[in-house]
């Protein structure tokens, strides 16, 4: 079996044992989405207005919470050292790890977003727009969060970097994601935000793992 595939399978297996983290993301998503109708009331106009930010926010939180642990346990038990010392491309291995996290934490979110969106009275093509937005955004966020996690691994590179990385990098995603949803619900041409999201997604997948792998090497020194 190809080594990258093997690592991917291993990580999926581990994630399955860590199913609790996956579930957290989903619960987080549901919690954030529920709290508004619960406290403000389920006025349709209102709900449609806030669904954009609610979806994006949930996606961010879910990925933050379920990805916090992407490297830390491996760092503590020493298997990150082993990963670094292998003769395979660390970038590739990191990419596999990220992909497996994406598969086990983002994909469920996308599925759940369908239900949430329907309780927010979103239907038809707008629903599809919501799903695609969540997919694109959460994929990007997975990469950004992985980078932030790697940078904050070592104690000598603490939270400041997390702020510098996560906050400014995810804000555009949140804003354009919300816009994408809003436009498609309201019926304005939403291709602009979608192009942006797709671009960011590709960018994050190409540069994210490299930066993350580098950050891991630094934190092991």
């Amino acid at each position: 079996m190809n080594i990258y595939l093997k690592i991917f399978v291993r990580e999926i297996k581990v994630s399955m044992k860590r199913w609790s983290d996956i579930l957290t993301g989903v619960i987080m998503f549901v919690l954030v989405a529920l709290i508004f109708p619960l406290t403000v009331g389920s006025d349709q106009m209102f709900l449609i207005k806030i669904i954009g930010p609610v979806m994006l926010l949930s996606a961010l939180l879910a990925s933050l919470i379920s990805m916090q642990n992407i490297f830390k346990p491996d760092f503590l038990n020493g298997s990150l050292e082993q990963l670094t010392l292998s003769h395979h491309s660390l970038n590739g291995l990191v990419l596999m790890k990220i992909l497996s996290y994406w598969a086990t934490s983002s994909l469920p979110l996308v599925a759940v977003s369908v239900f949430i969106a329907s309780t927010y009275y979103v239907t038809g093509t707008s629903l599809i727009a919501v799903v695609i937005t969540v997919l694109l955004a959460s994929t990007t966020l997975v990469n950004i969060t992985a980078l932030a996690a790697a940078l904050t691994l070592s104690v000598r590179y603490p939270g400041a970097l997390m702020t510098l990385i996560l906050f400014p990098l995810s804000l555009p995603i949140l804003i354009f994601g919300s816009k994408a949803i809003e436009y498609s619900i309201v019926g304005i041409d939403s291709s602009g935000p979608f192009y942006f999201l797709t671009g960011m997604m590709l960018l994050s997948f190409s540069l994210g793992p490299i930066a993350t792998a580098f950050a891991i090497r630094i934190s092991l020194d």
Partner: protein, 204 residues
């Protein structure tokens, strides 16, 4: 196995203005077992991590087959199997899964033989998190022993092992250097190690 050569040239390392070691040079080749001996805090772990390229030395360099490891990291790592103070095992997976999903080529028979040698066969399907201290250490050692890589770097492999396991480990190391491997271990005791060894004393 090809003949291999590891050269270390006047390494020097500082940590926060504190000199850990300086001017360390040695050269070992296929068939050698180098024991790094020193008291607690003398810098054994730091040296080993530098040799493995995990830590950047402030001065000096490490050469593998006459090429600086910084320049041919992949070639080097293709030949290196390392075990630090931490075991590098995933606690949620079983012993067997940890060995199978490791990063090295697996050879089922060889692996089973090592597991058996360390008397871990019964625990093959136990989760690592349920193993005792020594048992997980032995699992990590099995990974190195069955890796088929020429260069083994082991940081205090003997601590926490019982005497049977120590002698089995010594057998493995003996076999390995007899077939042209290179082994580096560290220890802080004066206990004698079975195979013919070179010694490197560090610290005062």
């Amino acid at each position: 196995m090809n003949r291999n050569l590891l050269q270390v040239e006047s390494l020097e390392l500082y940590r926060e203005d504190h000199l850990i070691f300086s001017d360390i040079s040695f050269q070992i080749e296929s068939g050698d077992h180098l024991v790094i001996r020193g008291q607690n805090g003398s810098g054994k772990t730091s040296l080993i991590r530098t040799i493995c390229g995990l830590t950047q030395a402030d001065k000096g360099k490490v050469l593998w087959n006459e090429a600086s490891i910084d320049e041919s990291l992949f070639n080097y790592y293709e030949q290196l199997s390392y075990l630090g103070h931490k075991n590098g095992l995933i606690p949620e997976l079983t012993l067997d899964e940890n060995l199978n999903y490791g990063l090295d080529q697996t050879d089922k028979d060889g692996k089973d033989q090592v597991i058996n040698g360390f008397r871990l066969t019964d625990l093959k399907h136990s989760l690592i998190q349920n193993l005792s201290n020594g048992e997980s250490r032995k699992t990590a050692l099995s990974r190195v022993v069955s890796s088929k890589k020429p260069l083994w770097v082991l940081d205090e492999p003997y601590a926490n092992l019982d005497s049977d396991s120590i002698s089995y480990l010594n057998n493995c190391i003996g076999d390995h250097i007899n077939t042209g491997g290179i082994v580096i271990t560290s220890t802080n005791r004066d206990d004698s190690i079975a195979t013919k060894t070179t010694e490197l004393l560090i610290g005062s």
